[in-house]
């Protein structure tokens, strides 16, 4: 066994070293193995690819020439050969993430150290060990089928193609929803089964014979998975697991007093306002859910703008919460595209301001009043004759009932009283 391991070490050490180095370096840079949670970052694909390649070269040396026949003519069991193939890869799969976790601790900035808990580090390392170990095993399984690295890759691509064909058949041809559960991951077992069968019975056979065995395993799994996936009991079980698709979305007011809760079950939504201080619920009027528009909170007022396809006339719906519950106000006839909303200091009036229009909405009475409307520029002017269009840029609430703005042409300060105090 020691000699077999020595042989493997000499044949595989370059790829194993690269795999380990890639794991540690990407972990140290924070772009591979995670120290904050289980799932690794995108650059983990590099060590994973190297793990697969390390595995793909596994049985390459035995399949060359008559070496397998020679090897098995010695007093060596097939299990010892397989173990010697597996051990260096599995050791790398375990040791490299452990070193990666250490590298994260050493190279991460001190501001992150309180987040790098032993649990999070271990979970990140275990995930990487699991994925890269599985990648190595898949590669090793493929290496026993066809000669050389190119042959191993071809076997891998055959496996990937089988999974793709299966997925296409299941989801596109037979129309089973991708949200439903499938036994497709069972395909991952194909290289392992092929590895076990060929390592035990077929290592000295010709390439074509080994390929036939692999294809048979693949076909067997293909049919088995298809039978399971299409069987009525399994489909019923899958549906029972994905049946309850209820989810809830909440939007809190800036004061934290109210929330708009949207509950969706089986693609149907129900919505209500919730007073978080006493748990009271109020039905949300349908007008605040525009097909095309925008919604937002302004203090404890909920604003919703409904726009039609041509942008005007639009409708603004405001839900105000009073001691007697919510009150819905509607303001219409304005183009709300690009409008800014300014609340008066006493929160009783809303100034809708845009580049050519100032309108005040009274949130107590529901009245609306246009303070200023600039003339629109002619639509088509020769470029040479076109002058810069003056537009409103500065506007504010001077007092509870006074709106101020800078005249867009003279830049003079103008104050407009909107009602008696």
């Amino acid at each position: 066994m020691r000699r077999l391991l020595w042989k493997e070490w000499h044949e595989r050490r370059l790829w194993l070293a690269l795999w380990a180095a890639a794991t540690v370096v990407t972990a140290a840079l924070g772009i591979g193995q995670s120290g904050l949670g289980a799932m690794p970052e995108a650059w983990f694909q590099l060590p994973l690819a190297l793990a697969v390649i390390a595995g793909l070269g596994g049985y390459g040396s035995e399949l060359k020439g008559e070496r397998a026949t020679f090897l098995y003519s010695r007093n060596i069991s097939w299990k010892a050969v397989l173990a010697a193939k597996l051990l260096p890869g599995l050791a790398t799969a375990v040791l490299a993430p452990a070193l990666g976790a250490l590298a994260i601790l050493v190279f991460s900035p001190p501001e992150y150290h309180h987040l790098l808990t032993p649990g999070a580090l271990a979970s990140g390392a275990l995930t990487v060990a699991g994925f890269s170990g599985a990648g190595f095993l898949v590669g090793l399984g493929c290496s026993i089928i066809l000669h050389g690295l190119a042959g191993s890759m071809l076997a891998l691509f055959i496996g990937i193609a089988a999974v793709s064909v299966y997925g296409f058949l299941l989801y596109e041809v037979l129309g089973i929803s991708s949200a439903e559960i499938s036994v497709m991951p069972a395909f991952l077992a194909a290289p392992f089964i092929a590895l076990a069968i060929i390592a035990r019975f077929g290592i000295a056979l010709s390439g074509a014979a080994r390929l036939r065995r692999f294809l048979l395993v693949l076909l067997g799994l293909f049919l088995l998975c298809l039978v399971i996936d299409l069987s009525p009991p399994f489909r019923a079980y899958a549906r029972s697991l994905v049946h309850d698709d209820t989810y809830t979305n909440t939007s809190l007011s800036p004061t934290g007093h109210y929330a708009l809760v949207t509950k969706t079950r089986n693609e149907k939504s129900s919505r209500y306002f919730l007073d978080l201080r006493n748990g009271k619920r109020y039905p949300a009027p349908a007008a605040i859910f525009p097909n095309n528009g925008a919604t937002s909170w302004l203090n404890d007022d909920y604003l919703s703008i409904q726009r039609d396809k041509n942008r005007e006339p639009s409708m603004l719906t405001v839900v105000r919460f009073t001691a007697n519950g919510p009150r819905t106000l509607t303001f219409s006839g304005l183009d709300f595209y690009g409008t800014r909303y300014l609340l008066s200091p006493d929160a009783k009036r809303l100034l809708l301001a845009k580049w050519d229009d100032l309108t005040v909405c009274d949130l107590e009475t529901g009245a609306q009043r246009t303070l200023l409307r600039l003339p629109r520029p002619p639509r088509r002017l020769p470029r040479a004759k076109a002058k810069p269009t003056p537009y409103l840029e500065d506007y504010w609430w001077q007092a509870n009932n006074v709106v101020g703005y800078l005249d867009p042409v003279t830049k003079k300060r103008i104050l407009v009283r909107v009602s008696e105090p």
């Binding site: 370059l14 690269l18 772009i31 995670s34 650059w43 800036p254 004061t255 300014l342 101020g404």
Partner: protein, 440 residues
């Protein structure tokens, strides 16, 4: 009649087997140019990227198969040709390296003329290194090893070239941050590093272990050279291209207090101009800083909390701008990626200013800020809690995808959209749920 020299005959041999790829590559690139100009996509992939990928694949296969031919011919050439066997291999290598560069130029000229000349250089060098890596790996090991090495190289080193050929957004990102020039230098370094490994392969009958040692050296040298590249890339931030300036305002709910700010993101003059306007009392104050600055919030009507970052610096400072005296005082500073605030500003521009990654509590004691992470990929974000009274800052959440904040400030907690609450006293974050379940 005098016989042509050996060099000419070798040149003729390489030309006769090299011209189809050369012509095909250049023709493909030229045929794709009208589509590149129109921004056509195939399967959500820009046509320019697809063409570059096809050219890269062709060069990978070319490098690997040529090297395999040379390896097989070495023993035969030594006894049958009237010149050193290395000379033939050197001609093969040199001619096709040149051909790879010409193919790169055949594709890169468009970008050099229409966007940035450095992108043309980048593409030429990228094509050269693809050929180089697959040729060396195949010469030392085998054809499949050369293909695998070439593909890996295309994937790892191709980030900048593939990004550079995307429509203006990607090009501006690269040219603004000098990544193109940096990458080009890096490719030249790789070519130089590879030559010491290539020469022994060409001139000696090397045994396998020596070959592997050489390949190992090359791969190690490449890996070492990749570390600064990866490091540099990680230090970069997502920068969404704009016309160079971003103008926005921070306003009190009644509009009476406004801070207008204009950030100049690109070019040498990276600065921010701020104007505080109190319309009600007719006061104004102005500030111009040679840094990216975003106003975080207004403290009563006398001060503005600013967050600033100098170009190229790895720290972000929180400052209090006293508008009465027009003076600034630094409250505290936190580590950050280079140009992280520039990223935040351009994200606000891209996704809308309501998607603010910054929030200040109404009493001005606490702030929450989302910044590109300092440890990890540039498109991950950390949530910082800033305690201005204690002058402390803590990361509450690291490596997250969320880049905007929706905060409800309460006396001792801040509630975040998505079901998390921040304990302001203990600087911790936990999940919370609203009483929304149906009562039994």
């Amino acid at each position: 009649m005098r016989k042509p020299s050996i060099a000419l005959r070798l040149l003729w041999k390489e030309w006769s087997r090299g011209w189809p790829l050369l012509a095909g590559g250049i023709l493909l690139a030229q045929a794709a140019m009208p589509l590149v100009a129109r921004g056509v996509t195939i399967f959500k992939l820009d046509i320019a990227q697809a063409v570059l990928f096809v050219l890269a694949l062709a060069l990978v296969v070319r490098g690997a198969t040529l090297a395999a031919d040379e390896r097989d011919r070495r023993a035969y050439a030594g006894t049958h040709f009237p010149f050193h066997p290395a000379r033939g291999t050197l001609f093969t290598f040199g001619f096709h390296l040149l051909a790879a560069m010409v193919i790169g130029l055949g594709f890169g000229w468009y970008f050099a003329l229409h966007t940035d000349p450095t992108i043309g250089t980048l593409l030429v060098l990228f094509c050269a290194t693809i050929y180089l890596v697959s040729f060396i790996a195949a010469l030392a090991l085998s054809t499949p090893a050369g293909i695998v090495a070439g593909l890996l190289w295309t994937l790892i080193a191709g980030t900048a070239p593939f990004y550079a050929v995307t429509p203006p957004g990607g090009q501006q990102v690269l040219t603004d941050d000098f990544s193109v020039s940096w990458y080009s230098i890096y490719f030249v370094v790789v070519i130089v590093l590879a030559l010491p490994a290539l020469l022994p392969l060409l001139t000696k009958r090397v045994n396998v272990s020596l070959t592997r040692r050489i390949v190992g050296t090359v791969l190690l040298a490449t890996a070492i050279a990749l570390v600064p590249v990866a490091w540099y890339l990680q230090s970069q931030v997502n920068y969404y291209a704009t016309d160079g300036t971003i103008s926005e305002r921070l306003t009190s709910p009644d509009g009476a207090l406004t801070v207008k700010y204009t950030i100049t993101l690109a070019g040498k003059n990276r600065s921010t101009a701020l104007e505080f306007l109190d319309y009600r009392r007719q006061r104004a104050a102005r500030l111009q800083l040679p840094a990216a600055v975003i106003p975080v919030g207004l403290v009563e009507d006398t001060a503005v909390i600013l967050v600033t970052q100098q170009p190229g610096k790895r720290r972000i400072a929180f400052q209090r701008w006293d508008v009465e005296r027009n003076s600034r005082a630094t409250l505290l500073a936190i580590p950050a990626r280079r140009d992280a605030l520039r990223t935040v500003a351009s994200q606000m521009y891209t996704y809308g200013f309501e998607q603010r990654p910054i929030s200040l509590s109404s009493d001005g004691r606490f702030g929450l800020l989302i910044l590109p992470t300092c440890f990890g990929l540039a498109n991950r974000y950390d949530l910082w809690l800033i305690d201005f009274n204690r002058r402390q800052a803590n990361i509450l959440r690291a490596g997250d995808y969320s880049y905007s904040l929706q905060v409800t400030w309460q006396a001792d907690h801040a509630l975040l959209a998505g079901g998390q609450q921040v304990d302001l006293a203990h600087h911790t974050i936990s999940s919370f749920s609203l009483p929304i379940e149906e009562k039994p």
